[in-house]
Amino acid sequence: MTAVQAARRPAVSRKLAITRLRERRPLEPAMVDRFLDRHEVPIVEGARCTFLYRGDADAVQLINRVVGLPEHIPLRRLHGTDLWYLVLELPEGSRIEYSLEVAHGDQRERINDPLNPRLAHSPVGSSSVCYARGYQVPQWSKPDPDARPGTLVDLTVPSRALRRDCQVTMYLPARYRRTGRYPLLIVHDGADYLRYAAAKTVLDNLIHSLDVAETVVAFSSPAGDRLVEYANSAAHARFLTAELLPRLESELPLVGTPAARCLMGASFGAVASLSAAYRHPGVYGSLLLQSGSFVFTDIGNDHGGGPAFEPVVRFVNRYRAAPRRVADRVFVSCGVYEPLIIRNRSMVPVFEAAGMAVRYVEARDGHSWENWRDRMREGLSWIFPGPGKFVYE
């Protein structure tokens, strides 16, 4: 294209799509129909994201748990229409989950965004998701037909420590063979990692791409009350270390050294991982801690977490007062939009001061399974690096 041709091109409008619509006079319902047909919702234009709702209502609010934003943000009605809108500026690479609250008089209904097909799922339900500019679902989290699939095998492990049977789903990598020797990853909230963080697909792909070593993974789920079992419970740590680990190492071809053992978990699962390693130092060489619920107090007792956090706060306070080397390597990740970000940032120098190698990663995301999914490549490839550096085809 010549300079003259370029100069003749119409200038690209810097106005937001919603602004251009607002300026239309008269604004007919058919225009709103066409507008919605033409755009994916939320409309992402540079750093600005336009959230929309169409329908009769007295008020509409966007509900979110992004630290730094109000939890309830009102949408405005576009004059003369039933279209509601809100423009938010979101930093590059952000991924936020939200819902809408629609009010009719005193009646308020919380719904997922009916104009946005993207949903994030978790054990407590689903929510709508906005991908800001620069965010992409990692390719390695999607099924790849070229990646040979590993195998999932259900295992029941009777536990005297927990006084019940525990369900564990084992992941055996593709090309698993009895004469091999594999590192072991034990994952808290294993069923949720498999269901909501695509953990099997991620493992299949990362092993296929040589980013992660062929690894045996034990997806362990809470046997009873998760908030009790994962909150610095001696019984849980005993189950992992004195019951599950010996059984797996006796039945499977595992390396069986601390360097080849890792505990992983998110939220309370991260607390359980740290707690188990703390109670059994020298057993686990690595920890992979995602958005750990490392709530603590520097003074007083007002930690804001509620009764379930009491044992966590006691444990984390004790750990911070006398940091102990519980593993060689610790991978820590957290979303900058979650309330736990300050807690996790605060733990990094504590872990380092204890003499552990720490890799810390932040993301513009929240306390969510997709955030934990998206950080698995960085975490797992650091903990159990694959043979990529050895392979020259």
């Binding site: 390396v255 650091w382 043979p387 990529g388």
Partner: protein, 305 residues
């Protein structure tokens, strides 16, 4: 011995090379670096005019694991020791290279900085050399203790490999996992049996040298440190071979590459890109046109002497 090193064979040049060398008779092939894909060599066979004999070193290695459990257990123990040795080396290497880059960033007197930088790089080279020496020592002790040649399962495989190589006019060594490949080559004692012509690419080429350097700046963890893995068959000396260098290294980062080249000097860091061909000998002679990392970190073609 006549050695021809090639670039990666995604766009194969092998058939043309074989024709140019005027080879008659059977050609032994080694695809152990492909591991469980070792038998998938139909295309390779076609390019060699179906006169190939695959040594099946990976299958033989698996057979040893299965049928000589005492040796297999010892080898696993060796792997554990080597892993730990590499881990400690990488820990020290990280600090040593951080020191190099920190010195390079410092301001002040250029002369003083250059002296400090040279000393820092020398420290890294010494660490590399010490690691290579240690790894060679550990492997040497292992072989002296376990004497593979006197173990029936291994001895039988060695005899079989020797028979095939004895009848071959050349051997072709493909790429893949350089560690697996090197282990198999050592275990079945391939080095003294090599015929007069060897053609190798990628990991196969690296496995012929006396210094295997692992490298990769584009991993999930970002740029990594090039690290000494160990010695290959030592058929070639004075060369550090870099297959797919442009794809795997931050090759345009001249200061970083100059540290790479200086660490391994006087060995030459030779790029083996797609389409490359390097006819050399056991002294590692490089013909004019060979692409190397020069001392200033830039990719340079060797000129005629």
């Amino acid at each position: 011995m006549r050695v021809t090193l090639l670039g990666p064979q995604r766009r194969p040049t092998l058939d043309g090379v074989v024709a140019s060398l005027g080879l008659d008779g059977p050609i032994a092939t080694i695809t152990a670096g492909w591991q469980e894909r070792e038998p998938d060599d139909a295309e390779l066979s076609e390019r060699l005019g179906s006169r190939d004999l695959n040594l099946a070193l990976y299958r033989r290695w698996l057979d040893v694991q299965e049928n000589d459990p005492e040796f297999a257990a010892a080898q696993r123990q060796l792997d554990g020791v080597l892993d730990q040795t590499a881990d400690l080396y990488l820990l020290r290497l990280d600090h040593a290279l951080q020191a190099v880059y920190a010195v390079a960033r410092r301001g002040g007197s250029e002369r003083l900085r250059a002296e400090a930088l040279a000393e820092s790089i020398t420290a890294v080279s010494e660490l590399d050399a010490a690691h290579l020496h240690r790894v060679n020592g550990i492997r040497g002790e292992f072989y002296a203790r376990w004497q593979p040649h006197s173990r029936p399962v291994i001895a039988e495989h060695r005899d079989s490999v020797a028979d095939v190589l004895g009848a071959a006019t050349a051997v072709v060594i493909a790429g893949g996992h350089v560690g697996v490949l090197t282990d198999a080559l050592h275990l079945f004692n391939v080095a003294p049996l090599l015929p007069g012509t060897v053609i190798a690419w990628s990991a196969g080429a690296m496995a012929l040298t006396d210094l295997i350097v692992l490298f990769g700046d584009r991993s999930a963890q970002g740029p990594g440190h090039a690290e000494v893995y160990g010695a290959g068959l030592s058929v070639l000396s004075g060369l550090v071979l870099l297959p797919h260098a442009r794809a795997r290294l931050l090759i345009d980062d001249a200061p970083r590459m100059s540290v790479f080249a200086a660490r391994f000097a006087p060995a030459r860091c030779v790029l083996l890109e797609s389409g490359a061909r390097l006819d050399t000998d056991s002294a590692g002679a490089c013909p004019p046109g060979t692409l190397i990392l020069a001392g200033d970190g830039r990719v340079t073609a060797l000129e005629a002497a």
